[in-house]
Amino acid sequence: MTRPMTPPVTVDARGLRCPLPVLRLAQALAREPVGTAVRLLATDPAARTDVPAFVRMRGLTLLEVVDVVAEADGGEHTAYVVCGLSATQSEAAPPAHPPASPGMPPAAPPWPLTTPGEA
């Protein structure tokens, strides 16, 4: 999956508990033009399951999940980058996530989930 050209909009939901991180993400996606990538920062353990589930239910694309182990400001959290369908359609990506059905990719990602090349 190609990373978006423009730096994504960042939503900071660190310290918030479910369902607020997903709510903040949904609000940001609704606010920005279609296709904008939104980076969600969250500490809630439920977000690890709920962000991918939200992406699947809404037919969005999860571009990246990065565990940030330590940072000058803020400490341990996870960053999720999500964008609307249109951003991937132009890249002729395979049809994104169909609604809940058998044959989905493995449900539980191996924990901790990291993207190659990231801290």
């Binding site: 369902p19 399951t49 589930a53 699947r56 239910m57 990602p109």
Partner: protein, 364 residues
């Protein structure tokens, strides 16, 4: 239950008249339950609870297989008793390989290819799999999973604590575990089935109780209550399951009509009486409270409703939405004669309750 306390107070090991009567009652109760499970009475031991029976069942299999290895293989959606035992053993040995957790699909069903691969790893000694998941209802492919275990010479413990007496009794197992609560029996009666063909050995000091498997005396009145509950529910089981299944089907349809809702678990190959669903951007805790205010008791697997703030391990392993989650477990009709009215009330109340909770969440 009152009659059971009246009749079953004496010590079944004593030779006085009351003791002999207590022994007879215990034998009768064991015979009723064993017949229901399709096993010999000697194969059935009573444990202090379902989880205790799970733990003991696992320990005896592991001890008997200790020369093969010590690795436990289990699905990622097992009862926490199994998962904690596996994690504890792996942590104690400082070897994560001592516990093989096998992934499930979005319906919560075991991935049989990964199951086979996990069993094939050297050191695999014991396997554990539920007959069906108590949270989302999905049945597991016991026959195929057991077949693979046999191919590798690994004994399989089947956890039927979620559905025993509500769904068909499993036949593909080496050790079977149940809990009297699943068929409306009292809490405090775990069922441990170890057929003669199974290599099972109790670690630690021997016991003369319960076929040498349990070192806690069964509480006779509770066992009598469990046998009575089984006898009463067995006759009605098929009818009760069919009615419960139809009610849950109605609930599934009604829930799915609410926008942004994930109805979790297999729609057909499932326990008859269990339903879980998650409402996107709703809050499980508030939803449970809102329904409770209307006199409808539901549970939740959402993190906000758990003391640890972790979401349900079952929903997480499935990749299902964990927030805004509610779980419904229909009691048997004999226990709850108005359950169809209760289901109708829930169906009527749900759309407005979800909308109200979502509105509240959106304002935060």
């Amino acid at each position: 239950m009152a009659a059971a306390w009246e009749a079953g107070w004496a010590d079944p090991r004593r030779l006085h008249a009351e003791g002999r009567q207590a022994r007879r009652l215990l034998d009768d109760a064991r015979a009723v339950l064993a017949e229901g499970l399709g096993i010999a009475p000697e194969s059935l031991s009573f444990a202090p609870s379902g989880p205790a029976a799970l733990r003991t069942g696992l320990e005896g299999l592991a001890y008997a297989a200790r020369r093969t290895g010590s690795r436990l293989v289990a699905s990622a959606v097992e009862h926490s008793t199994i998962l904690l035992a596996g994690r504890h053993a792996a942590a104690a040995a400082s070897d994560p390989q001592q516990f093989g957790q096998v992934a499930v699909d979005l319906q919560g069903r075991l991935d049989l290819d990964r199951w086979a691969a996990a069993l094939a790893l050297p050191g695999s000694a014991v396997a554990a799999l539920q007959s069906a998941n108590g949270e989302v209802g999905t049945r597991q492919p016991l026959r195929a999973a057991h077949e693979q275990c046999r191919r590798h010479g690994i004994p399989l413990l089947v956890d039927a604590t979620a559905g025993l007496g509500r769904d068909a009794t499993p036949t593909d197992y080496d050790v079977l575990v149940g809990d009297a609560r699943s068929f409306a029996g009292p809490a405090g009666v775990g069922l441990l089935v170890v057929p003669p063909r199974t290599r099972w050995r109790r670690p630690g000091p021997p016991t003369e109780l319960e076929g040498g498997r349990i070192d806690v005396e069964p509480v006779l009145p509770l066992v009598l209550g469990a046998a009575e509950a089984w006898a009463q529910s067995a006759a009605a089981q098929a009818d009760d399951a069919a009615t419960a299944r139809a009610l849950i089907d109605r609930l599934r349809v009604a829930a799915a009509q609410i926008i942004d809702t994930e109805v979790v678990g297999d729609p057909a190959d499932r326990l008859p009486h269990v339903l879980t669903c998650s409402f996107l951007l709703a809050d499980g805790e508030t939803l449970v409270t809102e329904l409770d205010r209307q006199g409808i008791g539901v549970a939740s697997g959402s993190a906000c409703t758990s003391s640890t703030l972790e979401p349900s391990h079952v929903l997480a392993a499935m990749g299902a939405l964990t927030h805004g989650n509610i779980r419904i477990t229909l009691p048997m009709e004999s226990v709850s004669p108005h359950r169809d009215a209760d289901v109708a009330a829930l169906i009527a109340a749900l759309p407005a309750a979800v909308a109200a909770v979502r509105g509240q969440v959106a304002g935060r």
